[in-house]
Symmetry: C2
Subunit: 143 residues, 2 copies
């Protein structure tokens, strides 16, 4: 039985970094070859572009306060030095008016271990979209 | 070096099943515990619901001809009995008027090997959405 705790700890530390608006700590667990499929376009951010703390800072600046991300009951699969964690995440935010918003989305994280250290090599975050002709992202789904 | 060919073959066989509209062959490589994050809502389809060939047949019936799915240059990671493949996929379709459509999306597939046989335990397919206030799915992106 592989130990899931280092994977869960890495994800929890990263979400804590989001909550305190710490861009450097958000990108720190990303490996040099990371390929990230994010909620917003483009299709992918790769390598140095995905690990750009300045871009993360610009994203954080679009929020009134940093959003709080919670990954609920993720499934974690590990074999040797490869691991996958997936599940539903909630991103909670507070507007300048004090309004609380929540968006649930799907997240899949792939990690590799090198020299005893896990890092993220792939991330996939998304919401589905409505195939009713509106092509709208489904932003109000709940698990 | 792990052999990527069984993973690439499984994905290619599945896409061939889509192209010929073979619902049973589309769900065959899904494991019993599969969790699928699809392009359309809900957030996830799990287990028997994801492996329901009747539902896949109903989806196929919404197309004039079965769509053709091509996964371009996927990245494949394997350690022991766990594998991940991710990349951009193109879904090409032909309307009743003979119009050709293509939609590029991101796909992440997680597989486990049991008794020498790989099967899909997790799938994540998505397009990003526009954060310009429209909340529209970005259906016209190209790699």
């Amino acid at each position: 039985m592989d130990d899931k705790n280092p994977i869960l700890d890495l994800i929890a530390r990263r979400n804590a970094a989001v909550a305190r608006g710490d861009a450097e700590a958000i990108v720190a667990p990303l490996s040099e070859e990371v390929v990230a499929y994010t909620l917003a376009p483009p299709l992918a951010h790769s390598g140095a572009e995905a690990r750009d703390a300045k871009a993360v800072e610009a994203w954080l600046a679009t929020w009134h306060t940093p959003p709080r991300v919670e990954l609920r009951d993720p499934t974690v699969l590990i074999d040797g030095d490869l691991a996958v964690a997936f599940g539903f995440a909630a991103m909670r935010s507070t507007t300048a008016d004090g309004e609380e918003n929540v968006m649930w989305y799907r997240t899949t994280t792939v990690l590799r271990r090198r020299d005893g250290e896990w890092s993220i090599v792939h991330e996939h975050e998304s919401v589905p979209f409505l195939m009713d002709g509106s092509d709208k992202a489904a932003l109000d789904l709940e698990p």
